[in-house]
Structures are given as C-alpha cells and as structure tokens.
C-alpha cells in the first residue's frame, strides 16, 4: 500500500499529487461558496420577506400591530444605493419588497385593512442598530378596494 502512494524515496506525495489535491479542494470550496452565496442573493431575500409580511397581514386582526426585523433588507438597500424609505411598500393589496434598482418582488394579501407602516431604528443589546418595520392594522377599509 505504501508503495502505491510513494513517489520518491522519503516522500509520500509528489508535487503533482499535491497540486491535484489542492486544485480539487479549491474547486469544491468554490462550489460551496457558490451555493452559500446563492441563498443570500437579493431576489431570494426579497421574496422571502414579501411572503412573510403577506402571511402575517392575512392573519392579523383590526387593532393589532406587527413588527418585522428588516435590518438585512435595509442594509442591502443602502449597499445598492436604493431609496431606503421605499424598500418595503404595502399598496393595492400587495407587499412589494425591493432592495435594488434591478427588480423587486411582490406578493398579494387578501385582507381588507388600511395599513399604516413606519420604520423604526433601535439599538439591540449588542449595540448594533436594528431596523424594524412596524405595521398597524388600525381601521378597516370601507367596501371593496379599488386599484
């Protein structure tokens, strides 16, 4: 067995084998980075957040409120030089989430609320700034919404 992996006297691996091993490891490391990076793309985060907000709105009741941690979206919008006050827009029974000028994601909700939204910033216990989206389901809309 030892003979099989011995290239020269006194060395287990030759430089060719080392290049082969490092090259293979590098390729698989890059693949792992690619898969990890793919899950962090803007359009995936936008879709996830739009659906999450729409689900909560559909379950809400009049007079209640909801608070979402949108720090990640805010950070991405800032990084992409996108208007940070418009990264989450709730309008015409759609939740629109957009963190870049390229394209955003919308997801519909079916409840008939007049939704007031506000962005607030708080410092968490680790001293890090967190950005929250606060939704208030304060009053009902009268009849069927237009648009």
């Amino acid at each position: 067995m030892l003979k099989m992996i011995k290239q020269k006297k006194g060395s287990l691996f030759g430089w060719e084998e080392l290049i082969f091993i490092f090259f293979t490891l590098a390729v698989f490391f890059m693949l792992i980075l690619f898969v990890r990076g793919a899950s962090q793309l803007d359009f995936i985060v936008e879709e996830k957040m739009a659906k999450e907000i729409a689900l909560v709105i559909n379950q809400a009741s009049v007079g209640s409120s909801a608070k979402f941690d949108v720090s990640e979206l805010y950070r991405r919008a800032e990084k992409n030089d996108f208007k940070t006050e418009k990264f989450v827009v709730i309008r015409d029974n759609n939740v629109n989430v957009q963190v870049s000028g390229f394209a955003g994601y919308y997801y519909p909700y079916f409840r008939n609320f007049a939704i007031e939204d506000a962005i607030s910033k708080e410092i968490d216990e680790k001293g890090k700034e967190r950005v929250y989206l606060n939704l208030y389901f304060a009053e009902e809309k009268g009849g069927v919404e237009d648009g």
Binding site: Q7, G14, E16, E17, I19, F20, F23, T24, V27, L31, F34, V35, A38, S39, L41, F43, I44, E47, K48, A50, K51, A54, L55, N58, Q59, V62, N93, N96, Q98, G101, F102, A103, G104, Y105, Y106, Y107, P108, Y109, F110, R111, N112, F113, E140, K141, V144, E145
Partner: protein, 167 residues
C-alpha cells in the same frame, strides 16, 4: 511540462487527465444547475395560506350570529372580495350533521374561484407545482352568540403567486 502535468503524472499514474476535468465540469454543472433550480422556485407558502384561511374562517364563523347559508365570508372576515375572487383563492364551507356518527352534508357555501375545488382534488394526488395547495379540516364550532355547536368542514385552496416587480 504542461502535457506531463495534465495527461501523464509520471510513474504514479495519471491523475489530472482530460477525463478527470470532464468529470469535474459535470459535477460543477450539476451543482450550479441544481442550485439555480432550487432557488428559482422560492419558498412555497400556499399551503400555510390555505391553513390560515381555515383558521380565519373558524374564528369569524364562531363570532357570527346568523344562519349558515347567509354567512358572508368577505364582510365577516374582512376580506377583499376583488382579490379573493381574482382566481387564486377558494373556500368551501360544509355544514355537517354528525348526529348518527356519520357525517352528512346538510348545506354548502363557496367563495372565490370555484374551479380550484377540482384542482385541489387533483393536487392532493399529484406533485404538480401549478395545482393549488389546499387545506381540508373539520371542526365543531361553538357559536357562543347562538348557544349552539355546529360541525363544519372547511376546504381552502390557494394558488396565489407573487412575481418580480418590473421597473
């Protein structure tokens, strides 16, 4: 040197042959393709939405003080009728009689896109992504205002799809 490195690794045997590169490219292509397919689907929340509609109806119907057949899901549960009837949502309420141990349907009311009812039946037996996700549940609703309990079956179907915002 290059030829030796890539096609013949000396006495130890051939490691970095053209076939090894072909295998590597196939593995890379497979991973990239699988990743793209997986993430292009997005999280599917239609099943959760269907369950949530069921819970919502249960809550609204419990507070409702009228007859079953005149229950208006849209006004009682604060639902936007235009959105619900745009083709992506369906709700069927069945009033059941379980007095003799066997459930019999006494009355039924439907809301939304009626075509989704059949799609729900097909979707339960197939894995097609374009079929709606449905939730079927049976409850005994305690209607406090009327002082009676009713057994109802709720079938909710959702085929709502979001999309990319076009700039």
């Amino acid at each position: 040197m290059g030829r030796k490195l890539f096609f013949n690794m000396g006495k130890g045997g051939k490691l970095m042959t053209i076939w090894w590169f072909v295998c590597l490219i196939l593995v890379i292509a497979g991973v990239v393709l699988a990743t793209n397919i997986f993430y292009s689907q997005g999280p599917d929340v239609r099943g959760i939405e269907a369950q949530n509609i069921g819970k919502l109806v249960l809550s609204c119907y419990g507070d409702y003080d009228g007859a079953f057949e005149s229950f208006d899901f849209f006004s009682e549960c604060n639902i936007n009728q235009t959105i619900f009837e745009n083709g992506n949502y369906f709700l069927k309420l069945s009033l059941l009689d379980s007095s003799d141990g066997e459930s019999k349907v006494l009355n039924e009311i439907r809301f939304g896109n009626y075509a989704l009812e059949n799609d729900c039946l097909v979707g339960e037996k197939t894995l097609g992504r374009n079929f709606p996700k449905c939730s079927r549940s049976e409850f005994v609703v305690d209607r406090g205002k009327l002082g009676l309990s009713e057994s109802i079956e709720i079938l909710a179907g959702v085929n709502s799809k979001g999309g990319r915002i076009k700039n």
